[in-house]
Symmetry: C2
Subunit: 210 residues, 2 copies
DNA sequence: CTTTTTGAACTGACTGGTCAGTGCAAAAAT
DNA sequence: ATTTTTGCACTGACCAGTCAGTTCAAAAAG
């Protein structure tokens, strides 16, 4: 019956079960897609009875929605921390962007399945969790947009840049490069990938020096 | 009594039906995903009986695979033409990249649903059409990689760039920016979006001039 | 010509299987 | 003592794929 128990954060047992279900669901859905993944499979992979899934989540869709919220929450936090820590260290906005690229890569390295699933769902329309997705997406992109906007204000970035579009392009750059890294050349190190993206960000691709 | 009519390539009727089915399938699958889209829906939207789908395609998966091949083929052709036409006009590799960005945007503007669906499926594993997808992906990315490699050879690009990774990042930049454009600010013009991406590509974001 | 035949293309009712979600009593954990 | 989990049988909707039958334009026959 408890609704949010006093201090020690909502009954550990339940939370542990939920976590197991998230983990099971995220890989299965990343591999197969939402509709092709059955509740029985999720329960089995989590090592839990089917009834438990429904004891913990109202429906398959709700499980998925909360998974999305949870995952993007982690990403957003991580991006924000990256930006703030460079600010504290007295770095400029370029450093902040660079740190956020790295934070993005670290996130994708740690949660590749979640990233896959997120990308696969992001531009779909007509789906139950569409609005949830829009909200969490905006939270994450807003962090990047914020840094860009501050950079324009303090003169570090050109006033001509299109903040939302550039933010989207940066996110896309990291996302797709990282997914390709994971899928097609997983032996590469994170530093390698980070260096390549840094170079691209700073326009050192068409650079005149060898 | 004819079996495949003399010259005029495989009965027009059949080809027209297939085309209608592609068009119906592409929007539905982009919106809902492969598994959530029923063959009945596809048939209905195409204005055709369900049996006709199976008369023309061996299965739902095969229909989808041929759709993928067809669509990526169009994109690849378009990218190649863009690169070649700048070459013929005596432009450098930066111009080629820029033209390819534009070609990508034009493609996405014309076939937004296909693009959506392609992105959503690209990083999935364990799916029937996985291998098909890898092949067509490589065809498209190879065009970008080719231009980058030539640019490195002729000294226009730094030798330090990581060709496959940079190619993936560029594709991602265009893809995500364009999908965001379509989804969240469709009123923007293609030229606008192109300009923003060009600026990013040429490192004129963190430029020192206002 | 006119009639008949042919066969590719198409139709839609039907089948067999799958799956989300339910119900509930008993067991385990806290 | 209460919350959480289990196990499992059950239901009803839904859906991929099938198949016997229809349509019709063009070819062959008369």
């Amino acid at each position: 019956m408890e609704s949010s128990s006093a201090t020690a954060g909502v009954s550990t047992r339940r939370e542990a079960t939920r976590q197991k279900l998230y983990e099971a669901a995220v890989t299965l859905i990343a591999e197969q897609g939402f509709s092709a993944t059955t509740v029985d499979e999720i329960a089995e992979r989590a090592g839990v009875a089917k009834g438990t899934v429904y004891y913990n989540f109202a429906s398959k869709s709700v499980l998925f929605e909360e998974l999305l919220r949870h995952g993007v929450g982690l990403l957003t936090t991580s991006l924000r921390e990256a930006a703030e820590s460079t600010a504290r260290a007295g770095g400029g906005k370029v450093d902040a962007l660079d740190a956020m690229i790295r934070a993005g890569l670290v996130f994708i390295e740690r949660y590749p399945a979640f990233t896959q699933l997120y990308v696969a769902e992001l531009w779909r329309t007509n789906r139950a969790w569409q609005s949830t997705l829009m909200v969490v997406r905006q939270e994450a992109v807003a962090v990047v947009e914020g840094v860009l906007r501050e950079g324009v204000e303090n003169g570090e970035f050109s006033e001509e840049i299109d903040v939302p579009l550039t933010a989207a392009a940066l996110v896309g750059m990291v996302l797709v490069a990282a997914l390709d890294w994971q899928s097609f050349q997983p032996e590469r190190s994170l530093d390698d990938v980070h260096a390549a993206l840094s170079r691209l960000l700073q326009g050192r691709v068409s650079g005149r020096r060898g």
